[in-house]
Symmetry: C2
Subunit: 326 residues, 2 copies
């Protein structure tokens, strides 16, 4: 059944029964506004996924798209050290879109949100020439916020997990590669996970001086962190955490995708050297590698990537910019 | 200069200096999340404007589009009796879009938001095949909320301002009409005003039992109010408040556009008959007509429109549905 057979309001009526509530939600879906009880510092973020720009329909099961729509926003909450609380979802879809696919999208979104007791409280559904998804997420910051602006000269620089996998996954999707080794990277692109538990613990234990999530590429996002902190940074290429798939398909000596590929949704943070033991302890506890990849230097030294034997690597581009021509 | 000449991050840097801050905003534009201090009941709403669906670029100066993007969301806050506090703006634009036009859009949005001290705290800018604007607005509800669900049998039914003008304005734009009498209706479509002061006073004085804003057409939105309140309604066609332009160009005897035309952003509310004097007093104070157009009846009687001599008018459609085929 197509959305145009059912109509906007019948679809929304069907949807409402799928969406769980919560005590903090005074008024959920179905009125002009939602109404929620909030107190203290509230985090706010919005991010979009647009067909043809962020995803292609032929690669992307709608359930994964729903999960990703939650994850890319939750990652911003993770990067502040916060916890997501409630979400609004603004959807534009062509009328020929299947109702079942849209429902799979919502189920994916709700499945990703549920472990964090994040409630879908509001939204909007509109006709559009292609699928466009805009999510707004509200969060709390029980341990205060970790901004991009606190890194100090002499701090260590860390990244969580492995980098470059989502960009590799996108390449493999574009090439139509189907081998077993391609699957993990493709999943990293199609269905990323926000590092919410990690971000919250970094905030709770006051381990980081500045933090950002990697959405536009490690160097690009490191650039944002350095700009706000008014510092520079050195990245040791040999230290970059690369997945087995990356090593097998690209090779450990070629770190360009690890440095510039977007959508990894890992956390990049600066921390004082005296936190090293606590950071490795946290890595063990949350089951996620935290790798020291470099250090913070004075702003005048800008950002450099050091290769083997101290050579300086100059990547062709910094990372993803939605508009900049090559 | 095109956005693709400047790049995403340079544009955002230029934009940040245009955006005013506020004491309640702990962290505004430029980090992974915004952080604001909120307390008590918070209203949340999101709405989108999509090129080719909600507007055509050739009709729409970007500054007016910015104003409208604020107004369509603020109207939802008005319909709850609340006040807008802060906004997030998720924008998709083609790379060929002129930077000056985008800046005019932001200036329009900020100009509409400023009288309400509504702060733009966050956003997202992405490439897209056409212009797509998704706004999330947060508000406070100092006098509690007026939902769609409280109308009681015997209540009066009121509408603010005049109805059908935005739909008439859209028709006049489609026809390329340029006469003086067409201007006001076209402005109602291109640059609507949210009834924020009115909505807040209705809440403060506890005048309404249920309220909704008219975005999809009077009958459609009355249908939502009746559904949530589990009541029916009678609308007297002769009582509908029509503008001089509507009377001149369509004629007072043809109320179909007034009943079903979307995007008026007037407030439709139910109120107990003993509030009549207070409601007319409020209309004088805020300088906006509040017209009694019918009454609330039992749910079994559904919604009827009574024409002259008690005839029953059956409009061809209820109002705007994004997907329903005619």
């Amino acid at each position: 059944m197509q959305l145009s057979d059912l109509g906007e309001f019948s679809f929304l009526r069907r949807l409402r029964v799928r969406v769980p509530g919560d005590d903090s939600v005074v008024l959920g879906l179905g009125d002009d506004c939602a109404a929620v009880m909030l107190s203290g510092l509230t985090l706010l973020t919005t991010d979009a996924l647009i067909e043809g720009v962020h995803f292609r329909r032929e690669w992307t099961p709608f359930a994964l798209l729903g999960e990703k729509a939650f994850a890319v926003n939750a990652s911003d909450i993770a990067a502040m050290g916060g916890e997501p609380v409630c979400a609004l979802l603004s959807l534009g879809v062509p009328g020929a879109c299947a109702v079942e696919e849209l429902e799979a999208f919502f189920d994916g979104f709700l499945r990703a949100a549920t472990p964090w007791r994040t409630v879908l409280v509001g939204g909007n559904l509109s006709a559009a020439p292609c699928i466009m998804i805009s999510v707004t997420l509200l969060g709390r910051a029980p341990y205060g916020t970790i901004t991009r602006a606190g890194a100090r000269v002499g701090d260590d620089l860390y990244v969580s997990g492995t980098v470059g996998d989502a960009a590799l996954g996108l390449q493999l999707l574009q090439q139509g590669r189907e081998e077993a080794i391609a699957q993990e990277s493709k999943t990293r692109f199609l269905s990323p996970t926000a590092r919410l538990a990690l971000g919250r613990e970094i905030a709770a234990r006051q381990l980081a001086t500045a933090m950002i999530d990697i959405s536009d590429g490690l160097l690009q996002d490191l650039g944002h962190l350095c700009e706000e902190s008014q510092v520079g940074a050195v990245v040791e290429a040999a230290a970059l955490p690369l997945s087995p798939a990356y090593r097998a398909l690209i090779g450990a000596q070629d770190c360009s995708l690890a440095l510039t590929g977007g959508e990894d949704y890992e956390l990049l943070f600066a921390a004082a050297p005296e936190q090293r033991a606590k950071i490795q302890q946290l890595a063990l506890e949350v089951g996620c590698p935290l790798t020291r990849i470099g250090c913070i230097v004075p702003q005048a030294e800008r950002i450099t990537v050091r290769g083997p034997n101290g050579t300086r690597i100059a990547p062709e581009c910094l990372g993803y910019d939605h508009f900049r021509r090559a």
